[in-house]
Amino acid sequence: MSIKGKAYVMGAFEHPTREAPDKSVPQLHAECMRGVLADAGLSKDDIDGYFCAGDAPGFGAMSMADYLGLRKLRHMDSTETGGSSYILHVGHAAEAIAAGKCSVALVTLAGKPRTSGPGGGPRGGGGFAAAPEAAFEQPYGGTTHNQYAMCATRHMHEFGTTSEQLAWIKVAASHHAQYNEHAFLKEVVTVEDVLASPMIATPLRRLDCCVITDGGGALIVTSPDVAKKLNRPKVKIIGSGEAPKGTYGGKVDLTYSGAAWSGPKAFAEAGVKPSDIKYASIYDSFTITVLMQIEDLGFCAKGQGGKFVSDGNLISGVGKLPFNTDGGGLCNNHPSNRGGITKVIEAVRQLRGEAHPKVQVGNCDLAIAHGTGGSLGTRHGSATLIMERE
């Protein structure tokens, strides 16, 4: 069974806050739900499917559904793949809708790592101590920074990628963020600015890293019947793919991501190819994340990502593959240290023609949202979603 054309993204909401010391995390989830219902033109009791991930406090969907007052649920899913969870949830929601398990699915994300510190992230602290790999990895001081950085080191070694090329990704994101009134960083930066920023974990510098922000977002995915009744542009889901990638018993290869599997699945289901895509939301926890994913998704050949991005190809109105026109995680927002939901939200804005006029892609009828959650350098979950304007 394919999900192609079986479900629509009819609601998309990004919380405007980037710093929320006076709100609880569940409260932010609730505000995102309120925002997305208003966007879609639906009410609470229309929701019969609910999706959340590790940022949701308590027992996942069970606690949150009770807190949010969702009384009509007949489908729940708390699949956790880190920051890519919410892209994957849209695919799962489409599957559930296609199977008749629900007709209006809500996806929420929220968190406040900016005001609560590193321990304020999803299931922070010692929650991973019992993971089978824990004893063999935790003693080594692995962080997202240095694990992703090892991928960059290897990419540079194998393909000749340079820090200047990586910097172009941040430059492109900053060109877009200047038009987003809510962006955490609105200043346009240059390659030189990125290279002059402090070293964090070689070869990644501060401006190679995404922002840390409080906030959240929500999505509504509906059946075709519900979508017809709503007074919003229809964003049809036409393909999805997901894949985990790990360290495989020591057969570690840092040169590619799970996008190499989730991407082709999504493109095949959608019946389109990378060159057809008008707009791309590409997870940008770090510049290297973008580089590897655009190669793995087939927007350029493996190893050619550096050249592709340094030609300005990611800048809207300039290049072949306008990306993250909200400023992305690198400049706009990375709520709960998870960028998946904002990737879908900006893709929906583009397909609706509701992105900022300065970055809106002309006749944007086909878009991709792709995410990597977890660690690019150890194990992660990749999720790809292809959507079309109807």
Binding site: T247, G249, G250, K251
Partner: protein, 138 residues
């Protein structure tokens, strides 16, 4: 650009005690004796790391845990400067026996670290637990 560590110089990162369970306690007992074990499958002849009670490739339980030579080469690395301690180097090394494992490169000149550089096993004490396998440049 600043390559200086933001934190105190001369302060070493603490090595947390590895969380041992009944499946892996054999590995950490060997560590106490200075032996690094990896898994080897008698059914498909593939080595693996970290060692486990079955082969992650063919799922056979005919697995032996063998002692590694301790010789390796650097596969990739990153020197961490955003730390309140001295900078430290996370790395993957490829064991002479085949598997790649996550580790730190220690007791070496940071400027000499490079992909493919030969490295060898050294042990470091953890905070109240078994010693942990690290590597240094040779």
């Amino acid at each position: 650009m600043s390559d200086k560590a933001p934190g105190r110089s001369g302060s070493m990162r603490k090595i947390h005690a590895p969380a041992v369970n009944v499946e892996t306690e054999r590995f950490w007992k060997a560590a106490e004796a200075g032996k690094l074990l990896y898994g080897f499958c008698l059914a498909c002849s593939e080595p693996h790391y970290y060692p486990r009670s079955f082969c992650p490739f063919c799922f056979s339980e005919r697995v032996e845990w063998r002692e590694a030579s301790g010789n390796a080469n650097v596969y990739s690395y990153s020197i961490m400067y955003r730390t309140p301690t001295d900078p430290y180097t996370i790395a993957y090394v490829t064991l002479a026996e085949g598997p790649r494992l996550l580790t730190n490169l220690v007791d070496c000149d940071l400027k000499k670290i490079a992909i493919d550089a030969p490295a060898k096993l050294v042990w470091k004490p953890s905070e109240g637990g078994a010693p942990v396998p690290f590597f240094t440049l040779v």
